[in-house]
């Protein structure tokens, strides 16, 4: 054994190529930097497969990096590219074990040098955010039904067609006023600003759509410029932005009162469906008719209840009822007076009967006799009699003189 060689451990633990590759793959694919990175280089060996996948090499003076762009990701990339283009790609490093090669799986690809634009974008975004230009409270509500819709976009292309088609479908006679502008390149921002200002001054318009189709960051750049952001923010009329794809948010989108994912969506935001409104109006009208009819019926019943008051219908009842009262009272008076007389008479008769019962003559008539002494005084006890004394006996129809013969006690 050569002792000068560095020490090598005994080959106790020997990995297979597969195991080692698997380990490297794990390390690489789970690394924070390697799994999500922007890298810049020149495209070479570009192959665009029929499947839609693209394979190429990114290189610079010192190194090369294999790259693949799957068809699924390629669809979302608006930048065109060819061999020799200096680009920046975004993606994660992946290891292909059968060949022992690593490559970057690209999910985004943009022209190189665009980094400066991103910086400018971030700077302006932060500045305007600090000013509060993106604040929810600043956002104006969209009119329920605008008099007219202003559109700032290119007069050619799918965008204006989509907007027209959607608005016409929803509200066929909604006036649309287009200010055709350049939406990319030199002077685009200025034209967009002028368009917004013109529509602000146009009294026929009360909502504005600022739109552009999808494109690269450079294509959309006018919508990331401060004058456009200011014009949108200063607009007295609500502005809907429909710029680029949903994934790329421009400054204009952030400042706008409402953001639409596509021009068609902007059309939907800006006008209600006329037929729905007509139906709503029809329903409300019916309800209105029913309500007014029922209010009227209630009032009519209320009035009739009063109008049917018998005294109002026939005021003579007021007199008649009172006359009736008078007659009733008078009759009562008669009846009461008669019964009073009867009562009195009856009382007298009773008294009289009692009185009559006390009359001695009546008793004499019934066979009783009255004894009187010689002085004419009524004798009521035998004790007052003496044998041989004279008694005068009174009958109902005369007197008789007798002598007391026997006294029994």
């Amino acid at each position: 054994m050569n002792l000068l060689k560095p020490a090598v451990p005994f080959p106790v633990k020997v990995l297979s190529v597969e195991d080692l590759t698997k380990h490297i793959k794990d390390v690489v694919e789970n690394d924070n930097l390697l799994s999500a990175v922007w890298v810049q280089g020149e495209i070479s060996n570009l192959v665009k497969a029929a499947s839609g996948h693209c394979y190429f090499t990114l290189k610079d003076d010192k190194a090369v990096l294999k790259a693949c762009l799957w068809a699924g990701n390629r669809r979302y990339i608006s930048t065109n590219f060819k061999n020799g283009d200096l680009v920046m790609v975004y993606g994660g490093i992946s290891l292909y074990a059968p060949r022992g090669e690593y490559q970057i799986v690209v999910t985004d690809l943009r022209p190189a040098g665009i980094g400066a634009l991103y910086e400018a974008y971030e700077k302006l975004k932060n500045k305007l955010q600090a000013e509060g230009l993106f604040d929810e409270e600043r956002k104006m509500p969209l009119p329920f039904l605008p008099k007219g819709v202003g559109v700032v976009t290119s007069s050619t292309g799918a965008v204006i067609k989509d907007i027209f088609r959607v608005i016409r479908r929803r509200f066929r006679n909604m006036p649309i006023y287009l200010v055709p502008v350049k939406v990319q390149g030199d002077g685009a921002a200025k034209e967009i600003v002028t368009g917004i200002e013109r529509l602000n001054a146009d009294s026929r318009v009360d909502v504005i759509i600022v739109a552009r189709g999808g494109g690269s960051l450079e294509d959309l750049w006018a919508f990331n410029e401060e004058p456009v952001a200011r014009a949108i923010s200063d607009s007295k009329k609500p502005i809907i932005s429909a710029v680029g794809h949903e994934t790329d948010t421009t400054i204009a989108d952030l400042v706008a009162d409402k953001r639409a994912a596509t021009p068609s969506v902007a059309g939907e935001f800006v006008v209600p469906v006329k037929d729905d409104l007509l139906e709503l109006i029809r329903q409300k009208s019916q309800r209105l008719s029913r309500t007014i009819k029922s209010i009227f019926t209630i009032q009519k019943q209320r009035f009739e209840k009063c109008a049917q008051c018998r005294f109002l219908v026939k005021p003579s009842l007021m007199v008649a009822e009172r006359r009736n009262n008078v007659m009733n009272l008078s009759r009562e008076l008669d009846i009461n007076f008669k019964s009073f007389i009867e009562d009195t008479k009856h009382k007298f008769e009773l008294l009289n009967a009692r009185f009559m019962a006390l009359d001695p003559k009546v008793l004499l008539k019934r066979g009783y006799i009255m004894a009187m002494d010689d002085k004419g005084k009524v004798v009521t006890s035998v004790k007052k009699l003496k044998k041989g004394a004279g008694l005068k006996l009174g009958f109902s129809d005369g007197y008789a003189g007798v002598t007391v013969d026997i006294i029994e006690k």
Binding site: R168, R172, M174, I292, Q299, A307, C309, F311, V319
Partner: protein
């Protein structure tokens, strides 16, 4: 039935025909309800009853006329709602 006091009725009885003519339906109707209620009260004197009758008749006439006018207007409006005039639509003039 609204609550009312003897003073309220006295005020109503004191109203002239012109005063009544100026009332809106709701006011006239409330006053009529009071008058009718008072008229139907047992203790109302004949003299007062006749005054109530006189003002009640005027109020009733006023309410009836107001209802007639309202009904006519209502029918007219209902006719408009049910047969709205078609708006002319010119696709050439509208739009751009």
């Amino acid at each position: 039935m609204p609550q009312y006091t003897a003073k309220d009725i006295a005020k109503i009885v004191a109203m002239s025909k012109e005063d009544i003519e100026k009332l809106d339906y709701e006011t006239a109707m409330s006053k009529l309800e009071i008058v009718v209620d008072a008229l139907e009260q047992e203790g109302t004197s004949l003299e007062y009853g006749l005054q109530l009758y006189s003002v009640g008749t005027a109020l009733s006439k006023k309410c009836s006329a107001a209802l007639d006018a309202a009904e006519e207007k209502m029918l007219q409006l209902l006719g408009t709602i049910q047969n709205p005039a078609e708006q002319p639509f010119d696709p050439e003039k509208d739009g751009r």
